[in-house]
Structure formats: C-alpha cells, structure tokens
Symmetry: C2
Subunit: 207 residues, 2 copies
Amino acid sequence: MKMTTPKLQDMLLDATEAVVARQGIANLTLDAVAAEARMSKGGLLHYFPSKDRLVEALVIRTADGWRSCYTEAYERTPEGPGRMARALLDHCLSDAKCWTEELRRSSSAVFAALAQNPALIQPMRAVYADLHRRIAKDGLPPGVAEAVAAAIDGLWLDWVLGIVPLEQVRVVRVRRALEDMLARATQDRRSPRANGASRKRSKGRRV
Amino acid sequence: MKMTTPKLQDMLLDATEAVVARQGIANLTLDAVAAEARMSKGGLLHYFPSKDRLVEALVIRTADGWRSCYTEAYERTPEGPGRMARALLDHCLSDAKCWTEELRRSSSAVFAALAQNPALIQPMRAVYADLHRRIAKDGLPPGVAEAVAAAIDGLWLDWVLGIVPLEQVRVVRVRRALEDMLARATQDRRSPRANGASRKRSKGRRV
DNA sequence: GACACCAGACCGGCCGGACGGTATTCTTCA
DNA sequence: TGAAGAATACCGTCCGGCCGGTCTGGTGTC
C-alpha cells in the first residue's frame, strides 16, 4: 500500500491551514494556497486536482490526527471503568500542551470543509462515531462518559469558533469537576447503594 | 426608540437562513437570498446595504434569541444554588421542544458569519460572555456549572455541525448524568465533609 | 521519447455592489 | 382640499473583479 500523502502534499495542506488561519475561510482560494506554498497554481492542481480534493485531504488528515490522539491517550491510561473518559480528561484537557495555535488551525479545517462542501466532513463523522462507540462501552453509568466527551467538545469548539476566549483556569476548573463526577460514578459502580441522589429529578415543572 | 428590524427585515433574515440551510454556506449569495424572499437584489440591498450587514443582522438576531432563551429559562427556575445550570438543563436539554430544525438553522447563521467575516460573530461572543458571568456566580463548586454549560455546548455544536447525528436518548442520558452531578455538588455545598473524592487526582502520570 | 513535475496564461462564470429608474406614500403649503 | 414635491421603497441592469479549473508548454530524469 502506497502512502497517500508524502511530504509535498503535507506541505500543501500546511499551507492551506495557514491561509485559513491568516485570511479566513472566505479567502481560501487555490491561488492563495499556491502562493503560501510558494508554488504555482498548476503545481498545486497537479497534486490535488480540485479544491474539493484539497479540502477533503485536509479533513482526513485532521480526523486521523484526532483519532490517533485519543487512541494513544487511551493506550497510556490505566485500565478500569471509565478508561476512555479518563484518557480524554488527562490528555485533551491538560494544561498547556494541548490548545496550541497549531491545533486550532487544524481544527478550523473542518469549518473550511463545511463551507466548501458539507459532505466533506464525512471522515470526521466517522472518527466521532468510533469515539462514541468506545465511550458507550466505557463501563460507567450511562451518560457519564458521554457527558465528559460532550463537555470537552464544547470547550474545544467554543474556543476554535472564537465564541469564548481561551482561559486556562476555566479549563482546569471544568476538568476538576468532571474528574469528580468520574470518581463518584466509579465508586457508585462499586457500591451502587450509595447513589441515592441519582434519580432525583426536578419536579415536573412546565417548560 | 425605533424597532430596528420590522417585519420585512425579519422576513429577509428568514430567507437568508433558508438559503444557508438548503444550499449551504458557499451558496449564500445576495441573488439567492433575494430570490428566496421573492424580492429583487436591489430591494434586498435597500434594507441591508451590504452582505456583511445582512449577516451581521442575522447573527444579532440569533444571539438575542439565545440570550432571551436562557434568561427566560432562568426566570422560570426555582431559586437556589445552581439556578442557572438547572435552567440550562431543564430548558435546553429538554426532550423534544428544543433541537428543532428551525433552531438548527438559526444556529448555522453563526457559521455563515464565520465564513463571511469572523469579526461578525462579536454579538454572539458578547452573549456568551454574559452567560458565563451568570454561571460563574451560580453558587456551586467551581467548574460544575461551567462543565454543564460546556457539555450542552458540545452536544449542540456537534449536532449543528453535523458531526454526530441527533439521538434523543443520548441527550437524555447526558442530562441525567449532569443532573446527578449538580445534585451531588449541591449537597456537598450543604455538608462539605462528605466530598472525600473531590480532590482525588490520578497519580502524576506523564502525558 | 516517455514520464513525472511544475509554471503561468487564459477562460467562462459568478458575485458583490453601484446606479439609474419607477411607483408609492408622506409632507407641505396655498 | 389638493397639487407639488420630497422622501421612501423597490426594481433590474450592468460592471469590475475574482476564482476554479483547463490547457499549453517547459524542465529534468530514466
């Protein structure tokens, strides 16, 4: 099997991300990418025969990166219930190493795809489907691991979209809260008698 | 004070959302919006002198809608610690009423703005800043209310972006888990001696 | 000379927006 | 009251520019 994205292709994808980061999705044009990569448009189109293919490759690279990120985190996490959730918390919500400008760039590739052609996010959908499958059988009470994943997604997307500014302390606070929830859920598993508050719903108030 | 968006403007914004929903952000053109609204391009440009202004108005409308959504939910929620978090859970994660196709449309306005001109999402940023201010003084242990808000954002954005398909049962599971967390946090507040697991961190493992 | 790699001119189409025009309503003053 | 004229609401054409993609050609390498 042949590696589909040797060095040059990868460099072109980097250039694409750089254009998006600096000039916005609206200015993601073939000319701009070619200029960023110091190559002619003909050269660019030699490697990616259309803009759709270019963006598609970008999405695939981002999706693969995200998949290998959480799978490696999973490998490095001790076994036991909530292993995937713990992996996400430890790795994706760590203080400094994540949340770099580079990660932000690669993420906004997805939005470029969404603007270019919504069908192109399919690879990302597939990765998320895999992640949710892993999360579903994480050995925790239903919803707990999913809540952790959703919260991480929320922090992450809010940040990438520029809706909320990045605030390390906030990330840390949320991580602590989620870790507490995980710990509670795990010890409930062990002594299920103790979760008296579990089914307490607010009384059936009209919305 | 004059109402800035009388009926016709609102109708044009509806048309804009419809175009985005049906043809995608890439095909959001003035001609398309005018055609959707059964008006000439000249007429459209009479009300919104540029495309930027059109998208800006759309974002403002969406942001206002979101703000009044959670403020009204807040009003209808009984007092006490975690009021804002409970309001979000009860109202924004309710089974059926939310998560309509209409809401999805109005949300994707933000992505249209992001593609058109990232500066245009400022109104949405302001609304989120307000929400986070409310959440910060919600009377809960630090991070708990923020985790709830982040999880809701995550579910919501994953759905709007089309990254994960809509699955009611998943939403319900997450809501239950978050409600448990809220209940735990509240009773900890009342008897802080009981949160023995709170500070339990996974041992300092290298990432 | 066959092939991979790359350059850059070129084209057709589309899009934002300017502009001049018309119909309708509102204001003003005799 | 009603005519004149101003303001407003809306129309549709046109233009300049940009963008994706094609094409022709040029270079090095086997």
